[in-house]
């Protein structure tokens, strides 16, 4: 139907069914023509038309035979020669039911069997190819080629069938899955096509093509008999010559028929009576029957065996074929399994390669970000005392820069955070850790993770001081200590005196409350039981380090003496253990007691005398850190400037990859 080629505004539209009627007329005409073809051959067609038809028929037969032999050879080469008869029957049956001529079915089947190596699988796929090609957008051979390529893993050709899958999705599917998908989408298409007039015409065409092939075959047989032992030889390649000969033969036959028609039948009546064929009143009909009978006899005459017969009989023969068929099917199944295994292997390799590439890219980005001068400058700018609007701009620029080094998902999170003015933990968990480290609040990643999980209300636009204050408040609130019991201790009596009070004994002897090393027989007073509310940790217990304030040494208050748990991790015990110095121990405020007459408690208050056995080298903050000396040049105007300078220095050091322990 010609597309509309003019610019027009239609005002009145009418319906036209002429095309439909034409089609109906053509279809009926074709049916009639084929039904009456035999009759028309002798009466309607002229000699030239007959000659042309004969030539076409012979050519059709020769082409058909060539295609059939090609398929037979292909099957034989695959070691499936015993399947030839079965394949021929399948093609012949399918041709009649599908309305597709064997000229298309054979090459399509050949492609499939060469790929699959299995007759059963090829038959299955050929039917699917018929459905794929039913709408006429692709021909059968193309559809079969696409399927055979998909069978070995190349799914490129399947795109044209609009399966709604991307290239990657198609590649990721096994052939069985693809076949199932195609079957679901296209099943029954060919059957539906046969219901249309086009389909019916196709069926008629198949019949007509077969008719021509049969005529062509019989004509060649006739010519072979005419030329006896010489055969038609080279004339098979010279169709024109053959056509002329056939034409002449037909014209001669027509002439013969004409002469017979003109003969006076009554003169031959006796002969006809003799052969007891009185029912045939028409001599042409008689002749026709005689000729047909002769032809049939020639065609059905038994032919000599070209191969020797087996003496073991037909049973053995069929058993052998069945065994061979089973073996071939097993071989084809093995091949299909290998193809599928290869596909899965390739898929895994591709995924691993993709993962490797992504990891390399991520690592490269991480390193590049550390040395990106713009990113460093932006981070430094954030430490300066700048206005709120400038800070917001710098933060957004920083987010842009960070997103350059992230993958798409991460970049979206970062940019969303920047757009919404939100301090996103995905972007800034690491930064938070750095801030807290710099601020001296924590040096444990686990603690920071716990903080992050608590989702602090920190905004993207908060400046450094805001962030620090918020985190500080959070930490202090989280780790505040509340003891649920009050312990009252009476004033310490003078040496030699005693007092009474609550506690384990009625007599309080401060000389007895000393470390064992300085005691000469004085027993330690058992500690009173301290009832702690659930969830509260005392200093020295696991996770109970006092985050809220800088750690301070224990300052004894002789006026209000307190008892502490004598645990492994308590301060009192650690003080005397020189090999295990707590990280928050301040040697300036705390001194070791010499084994002198002076009491331990008294020495603690003596800030001027340093014990001779005190080794400051063993009392350090941290054990494996790197000391970073920060020299600030110029003048510092504010606390923020100092913090910024220190932070920059810490960041620079962290980029070298060394761990940092902060010594304030």
């Amino acid at each position: 139907m010609a597309p509309r080629t003019e610019v027009a505004v239609d005002l009145v539209t009418k319906l036209k069914d002429k095309g439909f009627k034409d089609l109906q007329k053509n279809a009926k005409g074709s049916e009639k023509a084929i039904a009456a073809l035999g009759k028309k051959l002798g009466t309607v067609f002229g000699a030239a038309a007959l000659a042309k038809f004969a030539k076409d028929s012979v050519k059709a037969f020769i082409d058909d035979e060539r295609a059939a032999k090609s398929l037979t050879r292909a099957i034989g080469n695959l070691g499936l020669a015993f399947e030839d008869a079965r394949v021929k029957k399948f093609i012949s049956d399918l041709e009649k039911t599908s309305g597709v001529t064997d000229d298309s079915l054979r090459p399509a089947f050949q492609k499939l069997i060469q790929t699959t190596g299995s007759v059963t699988k090829s038959q299955e796929l050929l039917k699917l190819a018929l459905d794929l090609s039913a709408d006429g957008s692709v021909d059968l051979v193309t559809a079969a080629s696409d399927l055979s390529r998909a069978y070995v893993g190349s799914t490129k050709g399947l795109k044209k069938y609009s399966l709604g899958l991307s290239d990657a999705e198609l590649k990721g599917k096994s052939f069985a899955e693809i076949q199932k998908l195609l079957s679901e989408r296209f099943s029954g298409q060919n059957a539906a096509r046969l219901e249309t007039y086009q389909g019916k015409l196709d069926l008629l065409n198949v019949s007509f093509a077969n008719f021509k092939e049969t005529i062509g075959k019989d004509l060649i047989t006739a010519l072979e008999r005419v030329s006896s032992d010489q055969g038609i030889g080279g004339t098979t390649t010279a169709i024109d010559k053959l056509g002329k000969e056939i034409g002449d033969a037909i014209v001669g036959t027509g002439e013969l028929i004409r002469i017979i028609k003109e003969l006076d039948v009554s003169k031959f009546k006796n002969i006809i009576d003799d052969i007891n064929l009185l029912s045939f009143t028409n001599p042409y009909g008689l002749l026709n029957d005689v000729i047909r009978g002769l032809g049939n006899e020639v065609k059905t005459a038994p032919k000599p065996f070209s191969v020797g017969m087996s003496v073991t009989g037909a049973t053995d023969f069929y058993d052998k074929i069945e065994r061979a068929r089973k073996k071939a099917e097993e071989e084809a199944a093995r091949r299909a399994a290998k193809i599928e295994a290869d596909r899965i292997k390739r898929e895994k390799q591709a995924q691993a390669e993709k993962k490797r590439t992504a990891e390399i890219e991520r690592l490269k980005s991480a390193i590049q970000f550390r040395f990106d001068i713009d990113a460093i400058n932006l981070q430094a700018a954030l430490r300066r005392n700048i206005s709120a609007s400038d800070r917001e701009r710098v933060l957004q620029l920083s987010a842009l820069k960070i997103s350059d080094y992230q993958n798409d998902e991460e970049a979206i999170k970062t940019l969303q955070a920047a757009t919404q003015g939100r301090y996103d933990d995905a972007m800034n968990l690491e930064k938070m850790y750095q801030l807290l480290t710099v601020a001296g609040f924590a040096n444990s990643k686990a603690a920071i993770d716990a903080l992050a999980a608590s989702k602090p209300q920190i905004k993207f636009t908060d400046n450094l001081d805001d962030v620090i204050n918020k985190l500080k408040a959070l930490i202090e609130g989280k780790y505040s200590i509340s003891i649920g019991a009050t312990i009252t201790v009476p004033p310490i009596p003078a040496p030699g005196n005693s007092t009474t009070g609550i506690g384990p004994g009625s007599t309080f002897n401060p000389g007895g409350v000393r470390k064992g090393d300085e005691s000469s027989g004085g027993a330690l007073v058992p500690p009173p039981v301290i009832v702690k509310p659930p969830g509260v940790l005392l200093p020295g217990e696991i996770g109970g380090e006092p985050f809220g304030v800088q750690p301070k040494p224990f300052v004894p208050d002789t006026g209000n003496f307190r008892y502490f748990d004598e645990m492994e991790s308590s301060y009192l015990r650690l003080v005397n253990d020189l090999t295990n110095v707590p990280a928050n121990f301040d040697p300036a405020r705390f001194r070791m007691s010499e084994n002198t007459d002076s009491s331990y408690l008294a020495l603690l208050n003596d800030a001027t005398s340093v014990p001779s056995n005190f080794d400051p080298a063993r009392f350090r903050m941290g054990e494996n850190g790197v000391t970073v000396n920060v020299t600030v040049q110029g003048s510092l105007l504010s606390q923020q400037d100092l913090v910024a300078a220190v932070t920059d220095a810490v960041y620079q050091t962290q980029r070298t990859g060394n761990p940092i322990t902060l010594a304030v």
């Binding site: 139907m1 239609d10 005002l11 319906l15 036209k16």
Partner: protein, 208 residues
């Protein structure tokens, strides 16, 4: 696309009218043409005398190009199929706007039928059609359009310029001459056509 008056048995109606009285059929045809005439007349008013850009330079030349250098004269590839195709001659464009009673173009209708226009107003001049439709179409359809210009950007430039100086108008921004007129008075013309058809149908129904 605007809806047209759909008369499935239009041919039967004409035949029946003719059988009743041949003059009736002639009157029917004349009435239909008369009903469509205002639309064609309106469309003709939208044909510009010249098509120039803001600086007064021709986008559509009034005369076919002339070539002086041998390389241009002998270049047969970079040629329009018709020299007048890219020439803006208002008289020719106006002449190309006409009422058509028959058309060979068919639109599929249902499973086995086709619908054809029995009455339409067409903008048949090539230049008129180009001016009418420039800027329409999808990216895919533009890719299918063959360009013979030496300027690889000619298509895009022309389309962008045309859209700028004379935007598409009409109900769905689909034209500049015919579709513009159709957007203005299409409904009234169709009502008139419908009236003409209904009147004859009534006459035909009464007669049987």
């Amino acid at each position: 696309m605007a809806k047209s008056v759909f008369v499935p048995d239009f041919d039967k109606l004409q035949k029946a009218l003719k059988e009743l009285d041949p003059q009736l059929r002639k009157d029917f045809s004349k009435a239909l043409t008369a009903a469509a005439r205002p639309l064609a007349a309106k469309a003709k008013t939208f044909v510009p005398s010249q098509i120039v850009n803001n600086t007064g330079k021709y986008i559509f030349r009034p005369t076919p190009p002339t070539y002086t250098s041998a390389s241009w004269i002998n270049d047969k590839y970079h040629r329009s199929r018709d020299p007048l195709r890219w020439t803006w001659q208002p008289a020719a464009v106006i002449k190309g706007i006409k009422i058509k009673r028959t058309t060979r173009n068919k639109v599929p209708f249902g499973y086995n039928k086709v619908a054809t226009a029995a009455l339409s107003v067409v903008n048949s001049a090539p230049a008129g059609a180009i001016y009418e439709l420039s800027g329409r179409g999808s990216e895919a359809s533009r890719k299918r359009t063959k360009s013979v210009s030496r300027n690889p950007n000619a298509q895009d430039d022309f389309r962008n310029l045309m859209t700028k100086i004379s935007p598409l108008t009409g109900d769905s921004k689909n034209g500049r001459i015919l579709f513009r007129a159709e957007a203005i008075m299409g409904d009234s013309v169709r009502t008139e056509v419908q009236k003409v058809v209904a009147e004859r149908m009534r006459l035909f129904t009464r007669s049987i």
